[in-house]
């Protein structure tokens, strides 16, 4: 009996020793593996993957995933793999705020991406500034937000709200005198963003100032609430005032309905520009049929410009079933190109060193070749598109023209 007990005790002891040796070996092997595999660089941000901004946010997410795949195939950043954490902010500023706190305090991300749209982005900027982090912002415009952040927000939209109509008026200036529109109707959504597109900031920029500078008279200047359903009254006012240039400064739904109403009312202004959003690059635009024809819009760049990665991005979106490349996709990809080139160029994740590098170097992106201004926005560039025969054509700047602008005869 005693012998059996001793035998059992011996076996148990042997098992314990064996397990201890196996555990220690595993720990050493694991540590060695970890040492061989550098820790990932973590890029974090939020997107409104549900709620009001789910449409553009989904495009951003597709672009982010594509870039992440590309960068890790290339060996990551600074020789380290890249991990991305994108939370769903439910298109709600307060949710975004708590998620950015989580990204910075708990997840301790190395690099931070902005959410989509000024409504959400404006709410998280103070959190970024208090953590002294750079915000890589392909998600929103906001001339005052950039100015207040003193260069700590790095943007990829190549124009801010006051300049949304600048390219169009440059195009108009280049037209023969007798072809230039003289009477302007402006429809503006009651939303802080399009109101700055119309009015500019501190007397600089804005559709009204650009119209005056182009020698045109503003004959209709109306703003409409965000829940407006029918635009017939507005369009009839512009038609009655013989406006030959109509600027629709609103969000995509409004712009689609205005374009349709203009057509239904038999109204033919020389130029109708949906300059408040890049709606002519969205999938819904071609579905408007003949009402979409001849309408002008603006965007940051176009695949025919040959910027870095732009044609490939357009192909990727074609494969996703898009007829045309959304602006969101371009700026979303461009900011990641800036991030990549900045980290590789500065060879650090130190935010101040990165900021200094970004402000003193050029970046080749899908949205253009960027040089940054003091406030963190890229130097102005824009293309004006016109939707002709079922396709967007670049009609300005002249060096990138794919077609001459077609003005409607009244």
């Amino acid at each position: 009996m005693m012998g059996m007990v001793a035998l059992r005790s011996g076996c148990a002891f042997g098992l314990v020793v064996a397990l201890t040796i196996w555990g220690a070996a595993s720990a050493i092997w694991g540590a060695a593996s970890a040492a061989a595999q550098p820790s990932p660089i973590v890029v974090g941000g939020t997107l409104g993957l549900t709620g009001s901004f789910a449409e553009p946010s989904t495009d951003y997410k597709a672009v982010y995933d594509r870039w992440l795949d590309e960068i890790n195939k290339k060996g990551g950043l600074l020789g380290r793999p890249v991990k991305m954490i994108i939370y769903n902010d439910e298109s709600t500023p307060t949710v975004a705020q708590s998620l950015y706190n989580r990204l910075l305090d708990q997840d301790q991300v190395d690099l931070v991406l902005a959410p989509y749209t000024t409504f959400i982005g404006g709410a998280i900027v103070p959190i970024m500034l208090s953590h002294q982090k750079l915000l890589f912002n392909g998600g929103f415009v906001g001339v005052n937000i950039f100015k207040n952040a003193k260069g700590s927000i790095i943007g990829s939209y190549t124009y801010q709200e006051p300049d949304y109509t600048r390219g169009l008026f440059e195009l108009i200036k280049g037209l023969p005198e007798d072809k230039r529109p003289k009477r302007v109707a402006i429809f503006t959504a009651q939303n802080p963003f399009p109101l700055v597109v119309r009015d500019g900031v501190g007397g600089v920029g804005g559709a009204i100032n650009y119209a005056k500078a182009a020698g045109a008279e503003v004959v209709v200047n109306e703003q409409y609430p965000p829940n407006t359903t029918d635009f017939t009254g507005l369009v009839q006012k512009a038609k009655a005032a013989n406006a030959d240039l109509v600027l629709e400064l609103g969000l995509p739904n409004d712009s689609l309905q205005v374009a349709r109403t203009v057509q239904q009312q038999g109204y033919k202004p020389s130029i109708l520009c949906t300059c408040g959003s890049q709606v002519t690059t969205l999938a819904a635009w071609p579905k408007l049929g003949s009402a979409a024809e001849g309408v002008f819009g603006t965007t940051v760049s176009w695949p025919t410009q040959g910027y870095q990665g732009l044609a490939e991005l357009a192909d990727a979106f074609k494969a996703r079933g898009y007829d045309t490349l959304p602006t969101y996709a371009i700026v979303g990809y461009a900011i990641l190109q800036v991030l990549e080139q900045a980290v590789e160029g500065a060879k650090t994740l130190d935010q101040q060193k990165l900021k200094a590098y970004i402000h003193s170097n050029e970046f080749k992106t899908a949205a253009g070749n960027f040089r940054y201004q003091e406030d963190g926005t890229p130097v102005f560039s824009q293309v004006v598109l016109q939707y002709v025969n079922g396709k967007n054509q670049v009609v300005w700047p002249k060096q990138f023209q794919t077609a001459a602008p077609v003005l409607k005869a009244p």
Partner: protein, 291 residues
Amino acid sequence: MLEHLAAIAADGILLGLIYAIAGLGLSLVLGIMGIVNVAHSAFIMLGSFFAFELFERLGIDPIISFFLALPVFFVLGTVVYRMLLTRLERVAQAQGLVAMFGLMVLIENLGTIVWTTDTRVITASYTNSSVVVGGLFIAKVKLIAGILALALTAIFWAFLRFTLVGRAIRAMSQNRDAAMSAGIDVRRLSTMMFGLGIACAGAAGVALAMIFPFSPNTQVQWLAWAFLVVILGGLGNVANTLVAGLIVGLLQTLCAAFLPFDYVYLVLYVLLAAVLVLRREGLTLAVRRAI
């Protein structure tokens, strides 16, 4: 000037007809059954996507979809009534409202999952063209949607006024207990009435999708319009709902023509507030038996 006024009137009437059917189903369900169906706009959204899918996948014109939506959404409404509302008959009014709100959120979220929040438009052969009468441009699509709305309203009015079932429904709305004691199958009639309300919402969704861009999360704006029409027109009365829709449509186009455009909605909401103050007791009576 006369031409301008005629254009305003024509547009106001057509818009008003469309607003009327947006509110009709809500008015009937609230007025006759006492159910505050805040999920009404979610069924409008489903109606819009019903038309969209038939148009995109099968090339079916929205005019046909409008009529197809009636039986489809009637069945859907009866299923919802049997599965959800019969369980809420004896709960407090607030709980019923919360349940309907939950249904709205559920349908909208399912809509977002299925169709995403991309903006959609339906462009049929007549969408971008107009009928020109004496210099007036009347959008064909609004004219067609207006005629469809008028036809639907007339059918509902005739159904409730002249058929035996319609009379029974009206009897039920006036005194449910008396109707029961007279041998009317109140449960069956309620199911039918709710089905008709949802059929109306589905058809309204088709009509709205013919004219306006839409997405799963924007159709909720029609709930405000529907309530505006219902509150102005009173509850459960088809003819009054039609008149209320026309008043809202005409007021909107008149204000748009003669006031700065941003005042239009202010005027409409002031009207809503005034009606709420002046006709408060009418509403209270109708919702007293709310689920």
